[in-house]
C-alpha cells in the first residue's frame, strides 16, 4: 500500500518535472527558465526524498540538503548574473 502511494507520487513528480522542462525549453525569457530550474531543484528534493523512502535508506538525506543549498546558490548566481551581467564582481580597489 505504502509502496503504491510512493510510486504514484513519484509519477506525479515526474509529470510535474516534464512540465517544468517544458517551461525550461519554451522560455520565453531567461528568468522564466531560471525559475523553472529553481523549481526543478525543489522537485528534485522531493523526488530524492520519495526515492529514499522507496529504497528504504537514509543515505540520500545529504543529497536532499545539498540540492537545497545548490538550488539556492545557483538561483542567486543566475539572478545576479541577469541583474549585473557578472556573478562575482570585479574588485575595484585593486
Amino acid at each position: 500500500m505504502m509502496e503504491a502511494v510512493l510510486q504514484i507520487s513519484l509519477l506525479l513528480l515526474a509529470v510535474s518535472m516534464i512540465g517544468l522542462v517544458y517551461r525550461l525549453v519554451k522560455g520565453p525569457t531567461v528568468p522564466d527558465r531560471v525559475v523553472a530550474l529553481d523549481a526543478m531543484g525543489v522537485n528534485l528534493v522531493s523526488i530524492t526524498a520519495v526515492l529514499s523512502m522507496l529504497l528504504d535508506t537514509h543515505n540520500y538525506l545529504d543529497v536532499i540538503l545539498l540540492i537545497g543549498i545548490l538550488a539556492f546558490i545557483g538561483t542567486v548566481a543566475f539572478a545576479k548574473f541577469l541583474e549585473k551581467g557578472e556573478v562575482i564582481e570585479y574588485d575595484r580597489d585593486q
Binding site: Q7, V15, V25, V30, L44, D62, Y90
Partner: protein, 805 residues
C-alpha cells in the same frame, strides 16, 4: 683492434686534429701535415703485397655489436688491397696537388681536409670491411663526405644543387643496398661476406635471391653512376678539382665497381647477373661516351668519360660472370674479362686522375674550362700538354699507353661472347662487340678533342681572364707521377700481372680456381692479328675521320629532345614530389578542428564497425537486464528533451541552462541507481561548471554573443548519428556478452573486515585503489595551477593588456 683497424680509423682520428693544426700552424699549408697520413698508409698497405700474391688473405675482427653478429671485421685479399692501394696512393697525390691548388689564405682548408680525410677513412672502410653492416656504414659515410666536398664552395648555387642531387641519388642507392644486405643476411644467416660467398650455390636457389641481387645492384649502380643514375656525376663537377680527381674518378665512383666485384662470388652464377651487369655497363659506356662529345666544359667531358669508363669496367665484370659456366680453366676465355676489368680499373685511376689534375691546372692558370675559349696552349704550357696527351691517348686506347692494353682486352672479351651459348647469347651476342666498338669510337673522339681543342688551334688571349703560363712545379708533381705510371704500366704491364691483377681477379671469381691455383695473367703487348686489333685500328681510323668532319655532324645533338633528358626527369620528379605532397597535406590539414574531429569520428565509426562486424561481435541478450520502472522512463524523457534543447536552442544561454538540466537529471539517475556519493558530487560539479559556462558566456565578444541558429550540416548529423549508434550497439553487445563474474563480492565482504569502513565507495577510493585518487588530485592541482597561470601570466608584447579596459 689490430693494426688494420687502426689504419682504417686513422684518417678519422687525423680529421679530428686537422682544425687544431689549421689554427695553430697558420703559416704552413695544412695539406703538408695531412699528406703524411696517406703516404704512411700507402707504405703500410704495400707490405701486404706478398700475402695476397699467394692468394691468401688476412682477417682481423674487432667486436662492435657482437650480440647482433655485427663486428668490425677487416679483411684483406687481392681485391681489397688493390682498392686500398688506389685510395691511399691517389689520396697522397691528390693531397699533394691540393696543397698547391688551394690557397692557404683564401680557402677554408680546415674544412677541406676534414672532409677529405673522412672520405678517405670511409672509403678504406668500404673496401676492407667483411661485415655487410659495417660496409654499409662506411658506404654512407662516403656519401656524406662526398656531399660535403661537392658543396665545398657552398655559396655557389650550382654546388649546392650538385651536392643535393648526388646525395639524393647515392643515398637512395645506399638504402636499397642496405635492404639487399639484410635480405642476403636473412638468407645466409650471417653478416659476413665470405661466409655468404661460401654458401653461394644454396643462396642461388633461394626465392629471395633475385630481390637481394636487384637491391645490391641498385646500390652499386647509383654509386658508380651507371645508366640511368649517372646524372649526379656531371653535376658533382662543381667540386674543387682535387675532389673531382679523387672522388669522382679514382675512388668513390669505383665503390660500386668494388661492390659488384666483391659480390660476384655470390651472385655471378645467375644468368640475370650476367645480363644486368653486362648490359647496363655496356649501355652506360656507349651512352655516356656519345654524350661526352657534345660537352663544352672540360670537366663535363671528363665526367661523362668517367661514367663511360665505369660502364666499361662494369660490363667486363658482368661478362666475366660467364667464366663460371665454363668447365675447364685452361680454355676459359671469359677470365680475360675479369682480368681486363681489374687492369682497366687501375689504368682508369691513373690516366683519369692525371687528366683531372691537368684540367685543374688549365683552369687554375687560364681562369676557364670552356673549350670554346681555350686553344693554342701547347707552347705556353708544354708540361701540361704532355700530361694531357699521355692521359687522353691512354683513355682513347692508343699504344703504347696502358689504356691500349685494357681496351684490347675489352674488345677480346666482347668478341669471345660470340662463342657463348648460354643465356640466349646466340641471338644477342653480336650486340655486345658492336656497342663496345661504337662506344670506343666516341671515346676516341672526345679524348682527342681534349687535346686538340685546348692545346692546338688559335690562341685567344682576349677571352681568358688570366695570362696563361705553366703551372708551378708542385702542382705538376702529382700528374707527372700518374702519367709516368700510365707509361710504365703501358710498356711493362706484367709488373702488375701477378702482384696486383691476379690476386684481385682471383678474389672476384674464386670458385673456378683449384685450391692453391692461380690465374694465368699474362698481358702481352703484341698478340698477333686478332679481331680486337682490327677493331682498334677501325676505332682510330673512323675516330679521326669523324673528328675531322665534326662541324658537319655536331648539329645532330641539337635534334636530341631537350625536354625528355634524365636530368629533366629528375628535376620534374623532385618538383612533382614537392608539389604533390604539398597538395596532399594541404587538402587534409585544413587547420579547422572540426575537420580533424570529423576524421577521428569517421575513423572511430569505421574501425569499430568493421572490427565488430568482422569478429561477429554484435549481440543482443536481454536476460541479464533489470526491469524498467515508470519514473526511469519519465526521467529519460526529461533527459532527451533537455539534450535536444541544447542542440536546437537559439541562444547560448538556453543551451547552458539546458545543460545544467541534463546534469541535474543525471544526478537523479545516480539517486535511482543507488549511488549517493556520485549524486552529491555530480550536483556540486554541475553547479560549478554551469557557473563557469556563464562566465565564459559573459566574456564572449559582443558581436558573436547572439549569433543565429547553428546551420544544419548533413555530414555532421550523419557522423553524430553514426557515433551514437555505434556506441549504443557496443554497449548493448558488451552487456549481452559477459564472460566473467564481477569482483565486487570481494569488496562487499572486506570493506569493513579489512579496511574498517562502512562506505564502500569511499573505502575503494582511498584504500583499495587509493593510487587513482592520488593522481586525480594531481590532475585537479595541475588544472588549478594552469588556470591561474593562464589568467595571471600575460607575456604579450606591449606589456599588460586587460580586456575589460
Amino acid at each position: 683492434m689490430s693494426l688494420l683497424h687502426w689504419a682504417i680509423l686513422a684518417p678519422f682520428l687525423m680529421a679530428v686534429f686537422v682544425p687544431l693544426i689549421h689554427k695553430r700552424a697558420a703559416a704552413i699549408h695544412t695539406g703538408w701535415f695531412v699528406l703524411i697520413l696517406p703516404v704512411l698508409l700507402f707504405g703500410m698497405f704495400l707490405q701486404y703485397l706478398p700475402v695476397t700474391r699467394e692468394n691468401s688473405s688476412i682477417t682481423e675482427t674487432a667486436s662492435w655489436i657482437p650480440s647482433l653478429g655485427i663486428n668490425f671485421t677487416a679483411y684483406i685479399d687481392g681485391l681489397s688491397l688493390l682498392f686500398a692501394l688506389l685510395i691511399t696512393g691517389i689520396g697522397s697525390l691528390v693531397v699533394l696537388y691540393s696543397v698547391f691548388y688551394l690557397s692557404q689564405s683564401k680557402e677554408k682548408l680546415g674544412h677541406f681536409y676534414v672532409y677529405l680525410l673522412m672520405f678517405m677513412g670511409a672509403m678504406l672502410g668500404v673496401v676492407l670491411s667483411d661485415n655487410v653492416i659495417t660496409l654499409y656504414m662506411f658506404w654512407e659515410l662516403t656519401s656524406i663526405s662526398s656531399f660535403l666536398l661537392i658543396a665545398y664552395w657552398y655559396d655557389r648555387e650550382r654546388s649546392r644543387y650538385g651536392a643535393l642531387k648526388s646525395m639524393l641519388i647515392t643515398v637512395f642507392g645506399g638504402l636499397m643496398m642496405l635492404g639487399g644486405f639484410l635480405v642476403l643476411s636473412l638468407m645466409g644467416d650471417t653478416f659476413s661476406i665470405r661466409e655468404l660467398a661460401a654458401q653461394a650455390l644454396e643462396l642461388n636457389k633461394d626465392p629471395l635471391f633475385g630481390l637481394a641481387m636487384i637491391l645490391v645492384l641498385l646500390g652499386a649502380f647509383t654509386k658508380s653512376a651507371q645508366f640511368p643514375f649517372y646524372i649526379w656525376l656531371p653535376d658533382a663537377m662543381e667540386a674543387p678539382t682535387p675532389v673531382s680527381a679523387y672522388l669522382h674518378s679514382a675512388t668513390m665512383v669505383k665503390a660500386g665497381i668494388y661492390l659488384v666485384a666483391r659480390f660476384s662470388p655470390i651472385f655471378a652464377f645467375s644468368g640475370y647477373w650476367f645480363w644486368i651487369v653486362g648490359a647496363v655497363g655496356l649501355f652506360t659506356m656507349t651512352w655516356a661516351s656519345f654524350n661526352a662529345v657534345k660537352q663544352t666544359d672540360l670537366k663535363g667531358i671528363l665526367a661523362f668519360s668517367t661514367v663511360s669508363q665505369l660502364g666499361l669496367i662494369m660490363s667486363l665484370l658482368g661478362v666475366g660472370a660467364a667464366s663460371l659456366h665454363v668447365e675447364s680453366l685452361d680454355d676459359n676465355l671469359f677470365i680475360t674479362a675479369v682480368i681486363a676489368a681489374v687492369f682497366h680499373l687501375i689504368n682508369h685511376a691513373t690516366f683519369k686522375g692525371s687528366l683531372f689534375m691537368a684540367v685543374g691546372i688549365i683552369d687554375h692558370e687560364t681562369g676557364t674550362r670552356d673549350i670554346r675559349k681555350l686553344g693554342g696552349l701547347m707552347s705556353l704550357m708544354p708540361v701540361t700538354f704532355t700530361l694531357s696527351v699521355i692521359g687522353a691517348f691512354s683513355m682513347a686506347g692508343l699504344p703504347p699507353f696502358n689504356g691500349f692494353l685494357s681496351k684490347e682486352m675489352f674488345f677480346a672479351s666482347m668478341v669471345h661472347l660470340l662463342e657463348l651459348d648460354l643465356f640466349q647469347m646466340d641471338t644477342w651476342a653480336i650486340l655486345f662487340p658492336v656497342m663496345a666498338w661504337i662506344g670506343s669510337v666516341f671515346t676516341f673522339i672526345y679524348s682527342i678533342m681534349i687535346i686538340f681543342k685546348v692545346f692546338t688551334g688559335r690562341f685567344q688571349p682576349e677571352k681568358l681572364e688570366k695570362k696563361p703560363h705553366e703551372a708551378p712545379i708542385g702542382m705538376l708533381v702529382s700528374p707527372i707521377i700518374l702519367a709516368l705510371l700510365v707509361v710504365v704500366f703501358g710498356l711493362f704491364p706484367n709488373l702488375l700481372s701477378y702482384s696486383l691483377i691476379q690476386p684481385a681477379a682471383a678474389a672476384i671469381v674464386p670458385s673456378i680456381l683449384p685450391p692453391g691455383g692461380q690465374l694465368d695473367v699474362h698481358i702481352s703487348f703484341w698478340h698477333g692479328f686478332k679481331p680486337e686489333l682490327f677493331m682498334t685500328i677501325g676505332v682510330i681510323v673512323i675516330g679521326i675521320l669523324l673528328y675531322k668532319l665534326m662541324p658537319k655532324w655536331i648539329k645532330m645533338y641539337d635534334y636530341m629532345p631537350g625536354k625528355v633528358t634524365l636530368n629533366q626527369l629528375y628535376n620534374a620528379s623532385l618538383y612533382a614530389a614537392e608539389r604533390g605532397s604539398n597538395a596532399i597535406t594541404n587538402s587534409y590539414m585544413t587547420g579547422f578542428i572540426r575537420s580533424y574531429l570529423m576524421y577521428i569520428f569517421v575513423f572511430f565509426i569505421g574501425m569499430l564497425g568493421f572490427t565488430m562486424w568482422a569478429k561477429e561481435a554484435f549481440h543482443y541478450d536481454a536476460s541479464a537486464a533489470a526491469p524498467i520502472g515508470l519514473y526511469e522512463v519519465s526521467l529519460i524523457i526529461v533527459l532527451v528533451i533537455a539534450t535536444a534543447t541544447i542542440l536546437l536552442a537559439k541562444s547560448r544561454l538556453t543551451s547552458i541552462i539546458a545543460l545544467g538540466g541534463v546534469g541535474y537529471t543525471v544526478s537523479l539517475f545516480f539517486v535511482i541507481f543507488r549511488a549517493p556519493d556520485l549524486a552529491l558530487t555530480q550536483l556540486v560539479i554541475e553547479t560549478v561548471s554551469t557557473a563557469l559556462f556563464l562566465l565564459c558566456f559573459y566574456h564572449l565578444p559582443k558581436l558573436s554573443r547572439h549569433e543565429e541558429k547553428r546551420r544544419f550540416q548533413a555530414g555532421n548529423a550523419l557522423v553524430a548519428a553514426g557515433v551514437g549508434i555505434m556506441v549504443t550497439l557496443l554497449g548493448i553487445s558488451a552487456h549481452s556478452s559477459k564472460f566473467f563474474t564481477s569482483i565486487n563480492d570481494y569488496y562487499v565482504e572486506n570493506t569493513y573486515k579489512k579496511a574498517g569502513g562502512e562506505n564502500m565507495v569511499n573505502v575503494i577510493l582511498v584504500d583499495f585503489r587509493g593510487f587513482d585518487t592520488l593522481f586525480e588530485i594531481t590532475v585537479l592541482a595541475v588544472a588549478a595551477l594552469g588556470i591561474y597561470g593562464l589568467i595571471k601570466l600575460r607575456l604579450e608584447k606591449g606589456g599588460e593588456t586587460n580586456e575589460n579596459k
